[in-house]
Assembly symmetry: D2
């Protein structure tokens, strides 16, 4: 008897692989049937606890297996080759964020998936967060009025990486949230970043984004901060909202307050109530996995599809370019 | 019988004038004897409640009076002329922050005060905050180790101004705190700012400062934010500290945590206790006023003296210059 | 020219006297003209800073003066005699909470004020707090549904007293809030209290009150607690509300959540949004002083009138009686 | 090849059963081999996801199996019979809290376990919490000085039960924490409780405990509260400490503050720093399971052994007795 119609293979068994695997495994009629990791020691506990899952140190074993879809949870610079191979072998693909380490690579994957009629998806988990979705509704429904600006903060002590800087590591979340909230892309980007701990690997960064209607956004990411912070502040002319992912009991606060310009006196202020919607506890990663399975089964593009992943990579690449130019652009103090 | 030996005149009777006056009036052997404001309606309640204070709509009446010292609490662009006149009339001067609206003006005032052997002081109130002083001790005593970077945030809804932007209005506090904490000045500054509400008057700004030893600082100021925030985060390699002026019960938190680079694995993390020192409740403005009176009586320069005020104005002017250059420096996204 | 038509005399110049005096002095057409304190040293700074106020060490000087009203801010056990004398001399009276130290005394004062057609008021400041007033509206408007129970907490380190216990010192606030919120009085009271620091003076107490419709309330007061806490929690079957006086930015939170009994399963839960109303910053003490002045001028009873003060004293006296009985009522563990 | 030497059977597969099972299953050389639940529908997902675990609707199947130990996670009133049967069948037993619903039952189980030389343990999870253990060290090491009193709060909306009241449901945690912290038992107990939602089932309760050296404790438990609260406050004459289980980042705060009695003035106050120790993230339930396995293997009594469980039941039974007496003991207000 066939208990499932959807077989997943997972490449990369570090911190995130087991989490995503646990969610995939409990989808109706789905199973994780193979796991690959080049480090064999990571596979041993899996062999003991879930002996029915095949393990291998070769990703190619997964490509050549009967799995329907491959989940790639490996270092960023390996995403492109692994995803390309998977698509070429006819597998649907979910890649961890960011999709790739260059725009060319991302474009090639998107084109390949389209050609092969396969689902290509990227792990922008926060697009599946209920507070982010409520915020999107508030923006698009006009509740916040005209949006002036958005600020995001994603700060903590660690986890430092030595293959990519903090922008490539953390900002994909904030950029994907911004694109999802606004449905439009920035036209300008400027970066201020510093490499405090490791030489040449920036661990604190500020990204300033401008959109063509004057809307602007600021992204602050850091591996070097005492307090874990994950916050998005949206400033509209009717209302302001703060989504604080760390404060589970009050994840979204909507402030009915603002300022208005007048001839005289120049500005007046409006202060009203704060509203905090309730959200049922649903793991966003669960919803992401459901969207992937559903996309495979129905052919409907998932929310965080390859096109979205490409847009995020374009902004990351522009940020990287801005960062490399930043030295000569500084104003010298006398 | 002479009840006091120090007479103060106050120019400007808006929000801050009465506050500073209340503190000056309760210093031992000191009195506020004259108040000037060009708007006569502001003086009426003063006439009723403190009828022994002379009031006038002409600042010149104060310059020509017998007051020993003048406190200038007026719009920034008037600071220079009023302070200059006061010094020329032989009065000691305390000016609200920032000292002036240009470097030239600040330099002239500093030179004039020196020439006239008069005290020139600027209202950098936060240099008198006990948490800032404790933070300075921790930095200079080596408790925080090598300082990587400092982040400051000063955000709220309002108070919008139409004569100066948010940098000139709020950043003087953060810059004076930084200079006081570090005893050194930045060599580079870069600004990202946006004028959201009023055309041409920037209401949100990010200042990025670099010091010649690699230390960097980031100042975030905003008139357009739902939550009142006044925070300074200092990241050292031994400890991290957060001074949160809004959280009176836990104003300074010292985190015994950090990250260290190793060959393999790349980075390790250290997590220890948090310490929150106790501070007695003393109004920093009270200490500022005491420092002014003491400087007048003893000739010893006050902490926030004219030289310090000049340094802050130099950084503000460089920030303004960076801001004006920012458009052409942006990286365009394709 | 007569600048004011209402002259106040203040008896007691400790912590609270100057605060209430500052508020009275800024009422329209009102002035504090006399202050008495048996400790002459407390009056010296007043003589310097507000020399137009007459000072005396004899309360009787105030009774025999031309003041229209007397404010009594002295130890509880002196309230009755001072208030009685003031009323007998034809003065309106505002007494700090609690009104008196016995029911008999409170009844006598209420009768005397009525006889003399004078205003008798008690300093139940929290009845003038905007969050308490909003809470009252929510309860009476039915927004919270049927009220099950109310819990109050008033905790801090200090200020210990040696003339009265923590119940008489702090609980008057909570009892007056309860009576004001509910417009009905409890029929039963039970006390658990402990004298930890000083022998025979209870510094931590729990009061349990029952009303005849099953509604119950719990008051927790303490001088021996690390965190300053001033909180009222109202549990209704439609909504719940928390008034937290220490959290000025979010003073009142209304929770749209609850539980309902069913046959099967036994109980279901409902989770909705939290709402936090905005309150303009108005000092409740200011509103209390305005109510006193208005009552004197119009003859309309103030909110916190003598009758209300008497009700509070009755509950305090019953609590004291319950406390004295508590030892023999304890259940012994084997 | 034998992969494990310790086989566990779990009786009761609701909310807590799977959690405890997950922890037991990952102990070295241990396995959950059987699960029983009278409701067969609860076992179906287990059959799919962990098909190697035998399931049954009959607890007796577990008693008659080859498991070494039985974990009982069923309604309180069934604890005694199930634990008794398990012991009679030679199985070690871990019962959820409270151990039983009567003192006699608890005594019989303790005696039986001793007779049979089997481990009897009760699920007092909080005795394994690192913050509770640090608090115990601070108390016993004298850091807090003489302990005046302890207050505990365990509040939330739900989970209402219809078989036992809130005291039997929630207070076992607080009582076991108190006994563990203090190593002594109360001599008196007094209860104030109310049945707000369901007739005759008390959902809010205050327990007041006295120890023979004057130390006192107060336990507040509620199913009817808007904010999830799990807090223990310890007041010593040298320091005070608050353990807040809901605030994971600052679980234990130690306040170096206090009050001291003097002849004149009566009381002085001391205010010092707050310290927040760091705790590694370890699930207390994991440590509880390790203690159980270790006890079985070595014969050393576990921390939360049957004797401890009996002490807790004695206090619960005394609380219940006090509760039933409470009506006639109330003081009537006139």
């Amino acid at each position: 008897m066939q208990l499932y119609d959807l077989r997943f293979g997972v490449i990369g068994w570090g911190y995130w692989g087991p989490k995503i695997s646990r969610n995939l495994a409990t989808l109706p009629n789905a199973a994780v049937t193979m796991v690959a990791d080049s480090d064999i020691s990571r596979l041993s506990s899996l062999n003991v606890n879930q002996p029915w899952i095949k393990t291998t140190t070769q990703a190619s074993d997964i490509f050549n297996s009967d799995v329907d879809a491959v989940v790639i949870v490996t270092p960023v610079r390996t995403h492109f080759q692994l995803a390309r191979q998977a698509l070429l072998h006819g597998k649907h693909v979910l890649v961890e964020k960011p999709l790739t380490y260059s725009v060319d690579e991302a474009e090639e994957l998107v084109a390949l998936a389209q050609e092969q009629k396969l689902i290509l998806m990227v792990g922008h988990t926060f697009e599946y967060n209920p507070a982010v979705n409520e915020l999107r509704k508030l923006i698009h429904g006009g509740d916040l009025g005209k949006i002036y600006c958005i600020e995001t903060e994603r700060l903590n002590l660690g986890l430092f990486r030595n293959d990519i800087n903090v922008i490539w590591d953390l900002a994909p979340h904030d950029i994907s949230i911004l694109l999802y909230l606004l449905d439009k892309k920035p036209v300008k980007i400027k970066v201020q970043a510093h490499a405090n701990l490791q030489r040449h690997i920036h661990d604190v960064a500020h990204l300033d984004l401008e959109f063509d209607d004057g809307l602007n956004a600021h992204i602050h990411v850091s591996w070097l901060h005492p307090n874990k912070t994950r916050r998005v502040t949206v400033i509209g002319d009717a209302r302001m909202a703060v989504y604080d992912d760390v404060n589970k009991a009050e994840m979204l606060k909507i402030f009915n307050k603002g300022a208005e310009i007048h001839a005289d006196p120049v500005v007046s202020y409006r202060y009203g109530a704060i509203t905090i919607p309730h959200f049922d506890e649903i793991e966003p990663l669960r919803l992401e996995c459901e969207d992937f399975a559903n996309a495979i089964r129905t052919g409907v593009q998932p929310r965080a599809n390859g096109e979205v992943g490409l847009k995020v990579v374009k902004i990351l690449a522009a940020a990287q370019e801005s960062l490399q130019k930043q030295l000569e652009l500084n104003t010298l103090l006398v």
